[in-house]
Symmetry: C2
Subunit: 244 residues, 2 copies
DNA sequence: ATGTTATAATGGTTAAACAATTCTAATAAA
DNA sequence: TTTATTAGAATTGTTTAACCATTATAACAT
């Protein structure tokens, strides 16, 4: 019920103060914090304690530290990187499975594509068309262009999130992609047939978005993601069967 | 294309070594690392540098540090907490709007409730029923039990995520709730009428889940969340109008 | 102009000590 | 005997002061 009341550790207090200053905007992206030897005076603490605080802020992705003249701690723009890293840790610690991640992606990708269908402007559709053209080129090159095809596929999905225009969806989808791509390398069989099928999926999705068919877009996007997951699941089983 | 090659910082090497030992299972949950003064000898470094490494590992959620006799650094079970914290930071840093957050919640809540409808067991339904009973009690007490009602509402939504059985959805929804509750206090008008309407929503949702109607569950849950958002939006406008 | 070097500012590391916390066991009191 | 108190030791938390490593800049040389 109650939280531990004490706040004994000095470095934690320093972390809190600097973090709040950044979140409140008192320290803006690119701003340089005072040098360690100055901060030490400001917080009335020792350099060691201060450095423990800076290490944590660096780990949180709030600051970057450079050595040398004109070096120091600089406020960083916050990105999805830290979330991805902690999610990666969860996956590697086996607290989150491929199945969980793929199911989550399926849901989010569906919503995002549905929203994109409602909100796409002419130039958005044009951009999607161009991505499809690019994908087609890679398919015609065969499996040697597998990686490029996957890259275009990802770009297209992220474009949907951008069209949907909600930064929360954009960030979350970015994080899921970053993490799930590691599985692709491991489990997704690199076959031309799969490239072609997925290209057909993408064409259908873009068509539905163009026609402003939100529900159809959502369902197609979900099926598309789900198919990727099934391929991986099958390959995983084959690998277990033949090389245990 | 290429990553920076150098690896100058000693503390980073210490972090990597300990983290790998934990992820490989060489250090198991609950295990105690050697005392700082021993680790210092093992890694042939100074205590200050070593402590910077321990601070980062603590921040990552991999270890917990206790003072006193029998204290030290203990390997922690990895939870979704770190993902939540970093995602929370991302949301706060980007100053995500209420609209974006509410829209995201609408989508996720819909999916989760749909999945719950497909997967709920008898005892899950029973638990949801009990929550509804509890909510009813608070409603009959009127707006004085507003906070308790909101708490039950949140519990019910989190229960859906639990029933859906996917830890990713659970974490994400938890974070959204934590963040959106800040807005509730500020913008949601505390009226008995709203309590009653939302109670009716919840009853409808639980009924749909009980009947295994996934699509209906999803739509009802989305509408429910959307109504909350509309209330807040209206109050926000009124506040702008009368006290600018 | 261009290349080299010295300088100084800054983070990175080390060492040794003392403070604060907390478990354990010895001791005292009931 | 049981319970309360106290002393001790192990451990993290903090401080201080010095030195090392990196790097931008300015002075200097070519």
């Amino acid at each position: 019920m109650f939280q531990q009341a004490k706040q004994n550790r000095i470095f934690q207090d320093v972390i809190n103060q600097i973090q709040e200053a950044i979140l409140k905007g008192e320290l803006k992206v690119g701003d340089k914090l005072p040098a360690e030897r100055e901060l030490k005076e400001i917080f009335k603490t020792s350099r060691g304690t201060l450095r423990e605080a800076l290490r944590v802020l660096e780990q949180k992705g709030l600051i970057a530290i450079k050595t040398g003249v004109n070096g120091g701690a600089f406020v960083k723009p916050v990105t999805t990187h830290q979330v991805s890293e902690s999610l990666d840790l969860l996956v590697r610690y086996q607290r989150v499975s491929l199945k969980d991640l793929a199911e989550f992606r399926e849901g989010v990708e569906g919503i995002v594509t549905g929203l994109a269908a409602e909100r796409a402007k002419k130039e958005d559709i044009q951009y999607l068309m161009n991505l499809l053209k690019e994908a087609k080129i890679h398919i015609d090159e065969g499996v040697s262009h597998w990686d490029e095809f996957i890259r275009v596929d990802n770009t297209l999905h992220m474009a949907m999130a951008h069209i949907a225009g909600n930064p929360v969806y954009q960030s979350v989808l970015q994080i899921v992609h970053d993490n799930i791509n590691r599985y692709y390398d491991q489990f997704l069989p690199k076959e031309e047939e799969i490239m072609r099928e997925n290209y057909q999926d993408l064409c259908g999705i873009v068509k539905a978005v163009e026609d402003r068919q939100a529900v159809k877009s959502r369902v197609l996007a979900q099926d598309h993601v789900h198919r990727f997951y099934r391929f991986m699941e099958e390959k995983e089983k084959r690998q277990e069967k033949y090389s245990p």
